[in-house]
């Protein structure tokens, strides 16, 4: 069975061929927004050496967005809406972290994004503000998703949106647990998944996969190392 399907897969053109075929529309896009922090900061520390050195222009990727929604946001918050783009047909707003609470209120009450689907973060250690705080929202009224991002530096405080969407309570705790982003105004900001005495924030890129809090392991599990 396995052999069959491998054989079937063989004729499929390899990866490198496809972007070349579909590559025409996008190079301008990738280059067109150098200010987007996500894209230029991409080469991560942990990534293995990439065989084809310059990645050919992707078929899909971030495209600047300027629809009604973004216009409303810009009209309301002006410069606080740093950027807006669409990626894989999904709208993304990058906002100023200081105004996150106000923007959240507006998003929930005026734009009717009632459901905070998810809140998380991404770490780009080489960037000046290393974290992307990501809020995934959904609106029952419009059947639409919206992603709000805020760039946060190490040690900076972000306002907690726990008062806007109560579900953010645990999600922010998890973000704090994994990234060490501190949320101002959170009623109970402590680790969610890891033990409270744990040292370090595992989902940061500089926290190696083999690294662990050995002091904790030694004390609580009675073994030298969990690895």
């Amino acid at each position: 069975m396995a052999n069959d399907s491998e054989e079937k897969q063989l004729p499929v053109p390899p990866q490198a061929e496809k972007p070349a075929a579909a590559g025409t529309p996008s190079p301008s896009e990738a280059a067109g927004k150098p200010t987007v922090p996500a894209a230029p900061a991409k080469p991560p520390a942990a990534a293995p050496p990439k065989p084809p050195a310059p990645p050919p222009a992707p078929k899909e990727g971030p495209v600047p967005l300027d629809n009604d929604l973004v216009k409303r946001y810009r009209a309301r918050f002006g410069e606080a809406i740093r950027e807006a783009w669409v990626d894989r047909k999904q709208a993304i707003l990058v906002v100023a972290p200081e105004l996150l609470l106000e923007i959240s209120m507006y998003t929930r009450d005026e734009e009717k994004f009632g459901l905070l689907t998810d809140q998380t973060a991404v770490d780009f250690p080489k960037r000046e503000k290393r974290f992307d705080l990501v809020l995934n929202l959904y609106s029952f009224a419009k059947n639409e998703r919206l992603r709000i991002k805020a760039l946060v530096g190490d040690g900076e405080q972000v306002p907690s949106v726990q008062g806007v969407w109560p579900t953010a309570n645990w999600l922010e705790r998890e973000v704090y647990d994994m990234f060490g982003i501190v949320f101002g105004g959170h009623p109970n900001l402590k680790r969610l998944l890891l033990p409270e005495e744990w040292q370090g924030f595992p989902l940061r890129k500089d926290y190696d996969i083999l690294q662990q809090d050995e002091a904790w392991v030694r004390e609580n599990l009675g073994i030298e190392s969990g690895q």
Partner: protein
């Protein structure tokens, strides 16, 4: 070790005590630990302590290639591995900008719906067991076994199936798949009525579940609750309908909802969902289209830089994958939105004012899987 060794006996006031339920407790479905503040047997507050099963799945993802990571997601909600796999594969496909061929999509839908029944049926058995009905568990496991057998025949694994591949399927549907599913559908359609006759009208069952753990629609949305729990509160929302994925747009089914948002309603919603899933399965075996099962994806996956959020309606609720790509073979970041975790967050609100016995019923009705909560 006697489990009582885990009980902290902190005496607070005259009659407020802390009861430490779990992490080794028969009804916390794994290693959930709930610290209950009790006044007599009445719960005045609760706090969940989770993370006992934390394996750092999201961290692991950053050090695996896209394909290598696929089996890991099966180990989150191990009761519904197929649904997890579907979500991940589709998220990566979206990131790559490819689509699985129609045949693969229908087979995926079929297996996912079977998985939903398996998950719900397992929930029903354990939930009934929590409330003290021993027998339904065994009937339910019998049905689940039939589904697992189909999975085993299809891909060789029963629990952590890794049934789908990024871009489609690895295995062609085996010859009697349609026949097996049809036989299962016929049996199960009869038997689900049988289970309902054991519980739905039972005075004790109704007494134990009606009015327990009420979550109204506004609270449910605010708490981010999804899936059957949300639908039992009266919000008619199902990702399969709202943002169809796989082949759900080709099938006819309805979204069962209830008004009260109590444990009994959640029970009824899940029972009805099983019937709907059965109906989808029956439609699916009728129209599995011919054609290839694997889309045009290479052996080495290098999605263009960017990010995607894709979610599916897992049996527990919205299972979302937020994947950031930096153009390499390994995901830069994979965030999994676990429905169990976020549904569990509503526990505190739901248990207040109830008795210890109800806490067990409410944990059961949330249908959490600790593997997914802790990841």
């Amino acid at each position: 070790m006697p489990s009582g060794a885990n009980v902290e006996t902190t005496v607070l006031g005259a009659d407020e005590i802390i009861l430490n339920m779990g992490p080794q407790h028969p009804s916390t479905h794994g290693v959930l630990r709930v610290k209950l503040r009790l006044d007599g047997e009445k719960v005045v507050g609760s706090e969940c302590v989770i993370g006992y099963l934390h394996r750092g799945v999201e961290k692991i993802a950053e050090h695996r290639t896209y394909q290598q990571f696929a089996p890991y997601v099966d180990r989150m909600d191990y009761v519904a591995a197929v649904s997890n796999g579907l979500g991940y594969c589709e998220a990566v496909e979206k990131l790559l900008g490819v689509e699985a061929p129609p045949r693969a999509r229908v087979i995926r839908t079929l297996l996912t719906e079977l998985q939903r029944i398996a998950s719900h049926v397992f929930w029903l058995g354990t939930h009934a067991l929590d409330i003290g009905a021993l027998t339904p568990l065994f009937y339910c496991l019998r049905e689940r076994e039939e589904i697992l057998k189909i999975f085993e025949k299809y891909c060789g694994a029963r629990l952590t199936t890794h049934a789908f591949r990024i871009g489609g399927l690895q295995y062609e549907a085996y010859d009697e798949l349609e026949k097996d599913v049809e036989r299962f559908c016929n049996d199960f359609g009869r038997r689900i009525d049988e289970y309902e006759s054991l519980l739905t009208e039972n005075r004790i069952w109704v007494g134990r579940t009606k009015g327990i753990g009420i979550l109204n629609a506004a609270d449910a949305i605010a708490m981010g609750v999804t899936g059957p729990v949300l639908r039992a509160s009266g919000v008619e929302w199902d990702i399969r309908k709202a943002m169809p994925y796989a082949a759900y747009d080709q099938f006819d089914f309805s979204i069962p909802t209830r008004k009260n948002g109590d444990t009994y309603d959640r029970y009824l919603v899940r029972m009805e969902e099983m019937r709907q899933s059965l109906w989808i399965c029956q439609q699916a075996i009728e129209k599995i289209p011919p054609g290839p099962i694997m889309g045009k994806v290479g052996k080495v996956l290098k999605p263009p830089p960017g990010e995607v959020y894709h979610s599916v309606e897992a049996p527990k609720g919205e299972l979302g994958y937020y994947i950031v790509s930096d153009g390499t073979t390994q995901p830069y970041r994979v965030r999994i939105r676990p429905p169990s975790l976020i549904n569990l967050e509503a526990l505190d609100q739901m248990v207040r004012g109830h008795l210890v016995a109800d806490v067990v019923a409410i944990i059961g009705t949330l249908d959490i899987v600790l593997g997914e909560v802790d990841r």
